[in-house]
Symmetry: C2
Subunit: 601 residues, 2 copies
């Protein structure tokens, strides 16, 4: 069976040393996140994931979810019991507001747990993950009554939540949704329509499921400006808060997917189900984006999580499996062969994985800190700055993080040779599970357009200029350093490629918007490469300081420096190639009409 | 259900116009390959694949193979009947020698059919595919008696063949195999041991299965110099050629794999099975490489095949699915949304697929021609030249072709958004089936080392110098052309990157062989990019001439030119980035010891 242990040492490094969480102790909630508490969360949370969730990951994949004749869904063996333990231990409550029963701790810690959970069992993690998205929307847009009715039980994990956006004929283009919401005399709405791809849409792990549903009221505009958001519980809630009558929403079928088999992906049929408007009529898209932004960061973490668990297993296999000899002569002459760990091509794949996962973890937790600062920083200016930064980086974390996460998971499977292709070893599942993250919560093509078509231009480019300044300042601060200087210069070149690409967009995209669309994917990857490079420069700086201060654990810090060097050598060169592709524009890409794509005759 | 139609138009272009097969009419077998015959093979073969094999691809994936209690294996519904039709139509006999019942036609046509078959049903194609490998080995190394006993029935498809290399503890490092061959008084050997990952190892589609098995005779050297090859039929063959007694080889189990479910991947237990030495004792590795080289080209074609069928389905979906509006304004204002085909990011993925599949098809068929010339060219010099060229390009076709084939299949799945992740649509299967091609017949890491550690240096670098000269000559010939000149210059730059990378290897790999290992993967990709670019330059040249000659079908030739331009714009830039990674050497890659890869604490 595949192995997993939570990467607590690396996480502590990022939280305590790179982000220096203690320095934010004056902000609400952060005072609770002392290094003792943080350590306890990491250790106990990591243990829970490794000991409770990881052991049911492979069996969950093999068994999958089952829809019963009455429309109920049975999750795989062990899932209900594991969710009970999850609920009892309060793992879902960490970063939610105390007002609704949460622990009010920084999102940084919430993100740490999301990674651990998802590495151990991505399909399981989606049940609380979707609930988090629904909680965010209700906190931001729900009425006081809605908050009181739903949030405490969703935060505690007694109830779970879902996001209902997609319909058979529309996914990305939500303006086309057909689900109807008819106002009723009692102030509620009768919701009718079909939603598909609803993750965690029906299951047996919680007493109630709170669906957040996009629908159209009568006469609403035929575009995204006509979408409203409704809360539709599976069971209506009695006045005393207990679960009442079954509502008119049923699981019509569950999908047979490439992966995440243990999460029930449902077709949900709404047949005059009772729902209540969340926020204002026709303003559902804004509410939806609150869920969506939280979910996108969570999906980025899934990219990291599958790369991480696949990496751990590949390292173990590479050290155990013996095949051939080191190119420089036998590493273990007594044995019949050396561990495949000695082969440069195996090491290349492992180092790619190490450089990506550690860099991506730093980025995700830095991103979580921005989420916290958006809400909790002391000045309006600081809050706005953090908000702009996380808005800019969200599509990068989701899009680049999941593209690269899938690539790394695939390469870790490659380390296993033929055994990687056999389901028993578990590597196939990591690849299959990782694959969905590039698709859902907005395909990575949508992320690229969000980044280039919306975020770059927003407020006159203020966010991207702030990004350039921040990264540039960190480069300037380390450029003169004897050891870090060379790395800073490598990163400076890559940043220059991104700046040039940005300039090219400014000069061309207004005349021809297809030039923006043609280069958006390339730009998102350039920015991902630069951003992880920035994280590596910061980590290298911290590691060097730790070595100089003589606090011990030198091997850990030396590995950080070596991996930073590897990152600069092996990841940054792509920025230049991507810029050249971007600057090729849309001409040859869009030159051919549909008849040129026909195959036959 | 997914669609498939054979890309006959593009194939005719490559065979008749780019390769100009008619000009080889003086060589044995080529006289049969008139354009009439070629057309018939393409049309009828394509029809067979589309109408017989494609319809059982998805059901085969869903049903998989079943091992029965008696050790027999039942293939999915329809497979046996399809193989009967395949046999009756003689599709397996095309390129085999007439001496053994083949049609003696060029390998070029054999490769065409391999692509069509594999696109329609990769798992099915492996049954005749492995048989081809076994046939090659017997033709090259078998005794006259062995040839007469086995080849006619293997060529006809009455019997199939397998390759038995891997054992539980060894795959790449075949020097470690433990299967024993004890000489018997009657001149045969008793074969005992366990082989794993044996594709098509046991099934119900043919009367006999001819296993080619690597084993060690008593006292053989404990390395690859101690390996011998044996032929071990499932049923012993009576003197009259009929099938006799059951031999001591049994299927112990079949593997549960990520894909190619309809091919039975067996653990085969040899328990004193009767086998006969093929070729010389202890010279099994050379015989194995004959099978292997044929198989590697076949696997490269699989990379193409899955990219092609995934591309066809993605094109159909992109034209059908409506979502959002073109960035330049509504393309179909009457409808509620435009087909997603209008979006640059969708077009980018489709154009990447088109540029790869058409370029890769040209490369595979050009490679097939080299295989033909190796055997049939009129002078020793021409034969040696073709042999060196296909030897050099085989790891590129296998390694680059399958890495890129998997990437393209994944991107074609991405075009489907969420629907791509649902098994019903079939895109997941293309990705899962494509994945194995990067692994088997030597992982792509092994291919990279074969290219860089063996083929580059062979005979003082004669092959790579010949490659540089040939590509360089084609560049020089088109550089002055008004339309092609710019493309030729782009390709020249990429070729320069490859030449610089080659030089860097020469200057560094002798002192530190890890520098070669660290860059081998990058080099293989640079060479793949350059080689496909060369194919595109040749195709563009032919297309331009066809346009000038006014033979009609202008849209086809104009699309060729536009796709060539796209290839140069979007594929070539990676060569420079890969060279920079290669020149970073092995230092940061090999800097860390195993303790640095531990996760916990």
């Amino acid at each position: 069976m595949p192995i997993y242990s939570a990467p607590t040492r690396d996480t502590r490094f990022i939280i305590n040393e790179m982000l220096d969480l203690a320095s934010y102790g004056n902000l609400p909630g952060f005072e609770m996140a002392s290094s003792d508490v943080t350590d306890a969360v990491l250790n106990e949370g990591g243990k829970f994931c490794a000991e409770v969730l990881a052991p049911i990951n492979q069996s969950g994949d093999q068994e999958g979810c089952t829809r019963n004749e009455d429309g109920s869904v049975t999750t795989p063996k062990g899932f209900k019991a594991a969710f009970d333990q999850f609920r009892t231990a309060g793992w879902g409550t960490l970063a939610h507001p105390e007002e609704f029963g949460g622990q009010g701790m920084p999102h940084v810690l919430g993100f740490v747990m999301e990674e651990f959970i998802s590495s151990a069992n991505q399909a399981f993690g989606m049940y609380p993950g979707l609930t988090n998205g629904a909680i965010s929307a209700l906190i931001a847009k729900g009425s006081q009554e809605q908050k009181e009715t739903y949030l405490p039980k969703m935060v505690s994990g007694e109830w779970t939540g879902t996001m209902n956006l997609t319909e058979p004929h529309c996914g990305t283009d939500l303006g086309m949704i057909r689900t109807k919401a008819e106002p009723q005399a009692d102030g509620s709405y009768a919701i009718t329509g079909t939603k598909i791809f609803i993750s965690a849409g029906e299951h047996d792990m919680a007493d109630n499921i709170i669906h957040l549903v996009l629908a159209k009221t009568p006469g609403a505009p035929d575009s995204t400006k006509g979408i409203s958001l409704f809360v539709v519980p599976k069971f209506l809630v009695n006045e005393d808060g207990s679960v009442g009558e079954r509502n008119g929403v049923m699981c019509g079928s569950i999908e047979h997917k490439m992966g995440i088999h243990a999460n029930s992906t449902c077709v949900l049929n709404y047949d005059g189900a009772k729902g209540w408007l969340v926020g204002e009529e026709n303003k559902g898209l804004a509410a939806m984006f609150i869920m969506m932004n939280a979910a996108r960061l969570g999906v980025g973490i899934q990219g990291l999580s599958q790369a991480e668990v696949a990496y751990q297993n590949a390292v173990a296999y590479a050290l155990d499996r013996r095949q051939g000899r080191a190119l420089t002569g036998p590493a273990d002459p007594e044995a019949q062969a050396d561990p495949i760990f000695v082969h440069p091509d195996v090491r290349r794949m492992l180092m790619d994985a190490k450089a990506f996962t550690e860099g991506m973890r730093a980025l995700c937790l830095w991103g979580a800190l921005q989420v916290d600062l958006t809400h909790k920083a002391q000045t309006e200016e600081e809050r706005a700055e953090a908000d702009a930064m996380i808005g800019l980086l969200t599509p990068v974390i989701k899009g680049y993080g999941t593209d690269k996460g899938y690539e790394v998971a695939t390469n870790m499977q490659q380390v296993f040779g033929g055994h990687g292709y056999i389901e028993e070893w578990g590597m196939s599942q990591f690849v299959r599970d990782a694959r969905i993250a590039q698709i859902y919560e907005g395909t990575n093509g949508v992320q690229a357009m969000d980044l280039c078509g919306r975020k770059l231009a927003s407020k006159g480019g203020a966010a991207i200029q702030a990004f350039f300044k921040t990264v540039g300042d960190d480069i300037a601060a380390t450029k003169g350093d004897e050891n870090l200087g060379a790395m800073a210069e490598q990163l400076e070149k890559a940043l220059g490629q991104q700046q040039a690409a940005t300039m090219w967009f400014m000069q061309n995209a207004m005349q021809n918007p297809n030039d923006l669309g043609a280069g958006a994917h390339h730009y998102m990857h350039i920015m991902g490469i630069v951003t992880l490079g920035w994280m590596w420069l910061r980590m290298a700086d911290v590691a060097q300081a730790a070595l100089a201060s003589g606090t011990g654990d030198n091997a850990f810090y030396e590995a950080k420096l070596a991996t930073a060097r590897y990152y600069m050598d092996r990841f940054l060169p792509d920025a230049g190639a991507l810029r050249r592709k971007l600057e090729a524009g849309s001409e040859s890409m869009m030159a051919l009409g549909e008849e040129a794509f026909a195959t036959a005759a």
